[in-house]
């Protein structure tokens, strides 16, 4: 572990009082951050804690509303990646910015060539030299499209280094890697810091942070929780810093008898186009009258689970049975007809902005509004007016959904999903981006559904929400269910550890 760094504690980057707002949301609230020469510094926090935002500011992708940035003790103005590169800052984002049909060498020199001519031999030589210098193995002449994700990431790193980066920002670099690749990455990073480079390692995985980083800065809800030395802390303390709140969410009394299973998910697996296994043998059972939540940090397979359950993707293997009907891989219309009320992760992918509220509300069950083949517009409007009143949507039936606020849009989605009294409700990220009032309303509607006797499956990254709504909580990590615990036994700390992949369900007993 690089513990000797303090001797030469020069700050290559110093960010002071950084504040960044997106509308009413404060993504970074007065944050200080500094990076020393030759260290790997972790930026730890849940999704939405503001880690990526802070680093995007440093790389010039966003501009801070307040605060200042010093590089090598000089105050600098970074307003685009170009400025950042000039200051010796490089960033490897989660979405690689590589051009697949070009070769590795071409990608690396792209935009950093001198002169008009492009000598393939010369660029290959330069790239090979850089590759050897930094100890990052790549094949210069290979086409990027034929590379694995891990290899692509190495190309991205080398691309930054080729531009003479002294500071390397890695945004959740392990999220796309298989374990062996993670090891290679860690070796490379350790070698880089030994050459006096500095690395910012953005992550939410405690074990990785503990495995490689010297200092750790923890963000929570856009605020700085603190910066700690590796030797002075533990995974448990970090988990507390990361998710801990002063007040615990109100946990509901579990006074209901669980009903019959209504939705059974058995051994569901899904492998995506890139060949990555996104879901591994997922089994869940939602019973009538209960709320089962799937918690987890985003990108751990929840999206894929939701897409399969809503009919947008077909699983590689496994079965989904709803109310005795096999709906594995069925299209959305069949799943709806079988009695599933669905809300999508992204509400914009559920409603059509250019259509009116009434049209959106009718779209899922068009057959009910047909009169002699034509649409019964009066019925459509009456139905919409009824739902608008019932769900307190601030709109008229004729308003285009595009003009609605996020909360009202979500209410339209909910109203459509719930209007036919489904026997099972799937709510994915139901309150993401909503204000307090709308959030309360949506949650109460979901609880109403379970009181009515429907099975409710909530997929959410919001721990507060999960604790407040659920009877049982399942935690997903890297495509697997880490465990299912009753909400009464759950604490944020316990869930946080499970979400970070540190604890399996059986181990939770120890805590």
């Amino acid at each position: 572990m690089p513990a000797a760094i303090e001797v030469n504690a020069m700050n290559v980057v110093k960010m002071k009082n950084i504040t960044k707002r997106f509308g009413s949301l404060v993504a970074n609230d007065n944050i200080d951050f500094d990076l020393r020469k030759g260290e790997i510094h972790a930026l730890l926090g849940e999704n939405g804690a503001g880690k990526t935002t802070l680093m995007r500011i440093l790389y010039g992708l966003y501009r801070a509303d307040e605060g200042e940035i010093c590089v090598n003790d000089n105050l600098v103005n970074i307003s685009s990646p170009k400025d950042a590169i000039r200051e010796g800052i490089g960033m490897v984002t989660q979405h690689f910015t590589l051009v697949p049909p070009l070769s590795v060498a071409e990608n690396i020199v792209l935009g950093a060539t001198d002169g008009f001519l492009l000598n393939p031999k010369k660029i290959r030589r330069l790239v090979t030299e850089a590759s050897e210098k930094y100890g990052i193995a790549i094949k210069p002449e290979a086409l990027v499209r034929n590379l694995s994700v891990g290899e692509r990431q190495r190309v991205e790193i080398l691309k930054a280094l080729y531009r003479k980066a002294k500071v390397l920002i890695m945004d959740e670099p392990t999220a796309v890697l298989v374990p062996q690749e993670v090891e290679t990455l860690f070796n490379s990073l350790n070698q880089l810091v030994s050459q006096e480079l500095s690395v910012v390692f953005i992550s939410h995985k405690l074990n990785e942070v503990m495995a490689i980083c010297g200092r750790i800065t923890v963000l929570r809800g856009g605020k700085l929780t603190g910066t700690v030395e590796h030797k002075d802390t533990s995974e448990k303390e970090l988990a507390k810093m990361m998710v801990g709140r002063e007040t615990f969410g109100v946990t509901r009394q579990q006074d209901k008898e669980p009903g019959e299973p209504i939705l059974t998910i058995a051994n569901l697996s899904f492998t995506d186009e890139q060949g990555l296994e996104r879901l591994k043998d997922v089994s869940l059972e939602v019973r009538c009258g209960e709320v089962l939540s799937v918690a987890g940090v985003s990108g751990n397979g929840q999206s894929e689970l939701v897409k399969i359950l809503t009919g947008l993707k077909k699983p590689t293997s496994g079965r989904v049975v709803l109310n005795g009907r096999d709906i594995t891989g069925s299209p959305p219309a069949v799943i709806t007809a079988a009695g599933m009320g669905r809300t999508p992760e992204d509400r914009h992918a559920g409603v059509i902005g250019d259509l009116s509220v009434a049209e959106n509300l009718a779209l899922e069950n068009l057959d009910e509004y047909k009169k002699r083949g034509m649409l019964d517009r009066k019925l459509v409007r009456e139905h919409a007016a009824k739902l608008i009143e019932e769900y307190q949507i601030k709109a008229t039936p004729e308003d285009h959904v595009r003009t609605l606020s996020g909360g009202n849009m979500q209410k339209v989605v909910m109203a459509r999903a719930l209007s036919r009294k489904p026997c099972c409700v799937l709510a994915a990220q139901p309150t993401r981006g909503l204000d307090v009032g709308a959030t309360e309303y949506v949650r109460s509607k979901l609880l109403e559904q379970s009181d009515r006797g429907a099975g409710v499956l909530v997929v959410s990254e919001d721990l507060n929400e999960v604790m407040e709504l659920s009877d049982r909580i399942a935690v997903m990590y890297e495509g697997r269910i880490m465990g299912i615990i009753p909400a009464l036994e759950a604490s944020e700390e316990k869930l946080g550890l499970m979400m970070a992949g540190v604890l399996e369900k059986d181990e939770t007993k120890i805590l």
Partner: protein
């Protein structure tokens, strides 16, 4: 994708012809055709790159505009003559005139030689210069190119202007080399064939050369067949390039070589 090609070629054909007609210089005609092509390319860039209009629709718009303009200009300049005005086109160049078959094949118009020469030049620019690297990067992944500090709009505009210039010269070839006069349906879908050709050749300039030899061969073969008087529907030959392209598109679609950002206007977030 620039569906303006059909119209730009026609406009190039006319401008090249008219310039030569007025000045008597064939090369000035070529130059003028090239310039007007560049302007048309700029128009296309204005529509698609800067304003971000759907490329198909604006390409067709450019074609309709250029076609209308060419017809209009022809009438304005030449009126409605009983006989189409003529110019003395480029003479064919004899290379190796002594050798019988080879000599016949190599007796070509100078522009043909320049066109063939252009293929390796385009290839060289695309694959051996930093500008070519930028073009390819912008075509495949504009976000990545932008992140690497490349001016996506600029590269696209310049590319459209250069290609517009080529289209103009391509049109001028027909009036200045092959025919020596201008008629209204002179392009007759050759622009569309070019689009077909590029798709067929997987966006590779060398393969475009081979493809155009094949397409050209098919078309001259049907002319010969017509001359022999054999009763054969020569249209069957002419239609081949299109049908082959549709089939090629269908087969190639799986492992498509389309530049990934083809048809996608780029707007920075």
């Amino acid at each position: 994708m620039n569906l303006g090609i059909e119209g730009i070629m026609l406009l190039g054909a006319l401008v090249g012809f008219a310039t030569t007609y007025q000045t008597g210089s064939l090369w000035l005609g070529v130059l003028a055709a090239c310039l007007v092509g560049i302007l048309a390319g700029l128009l296309m860039a204005l529509m698609t790159v800067f304003i971000g209009v759907n490329q198909h629709v604006s390409g067709l718009g450019v074609t309709l505009f250029c076609t209308g303009l060419a017809y209009y200009a022809f009438r304005v300049i030449f009126g409605t003559p009983a006989n189409p005005p003529q110019i003395q086109p480029f003479a064919q160049v004899e290379v190796l005139s002594g050798v019988s078959i080879l000599g016949t094949i190599l007796r070509q118009y100078p522009l043909t030689y320049y066109a063939i020469l252009l293929v390796p030049i385009v290839w060289w620019v695309l694959y051996r210069t930093s500008f070519g690297l930028k073009i390819r990067a912008v075509g495949e992944n504009p976000e990545a190119a932008d992140a690497a500090g490349i001016n996506v709009y600029g590269v696209r505009t310049v590319a459209l202007m250069i290609s517009g210039g080529f289209m103009g010269i391509g049109g001028a070839f027909i009036t200045l080399s092959a025919l020596g006069f201008f008629t209204f349906d002179i392009i007759a879908g050759r622009g569309w064939v070019c689009i077909a050709l590029v798709i067929f050749a997987n966006w590779n300039p060398i393969r475009v050369l081979w493809g155009s030899f094949i397409f050209g061969g098919v078309s001259s073969l049907q002319l010969r067949l017509q001359l022999t008087g054999i009763n054969f529907p020569y249209e069957a030959f002419l239609v081949l390039p299109y049908i082959v392209t549709i089939i090629a598109l269908t087969i190639a679609n799986r492992n498509a070589a389309y530049p990934a950002a083809l048809l996608k206007p780029y707007k920075r977030e």
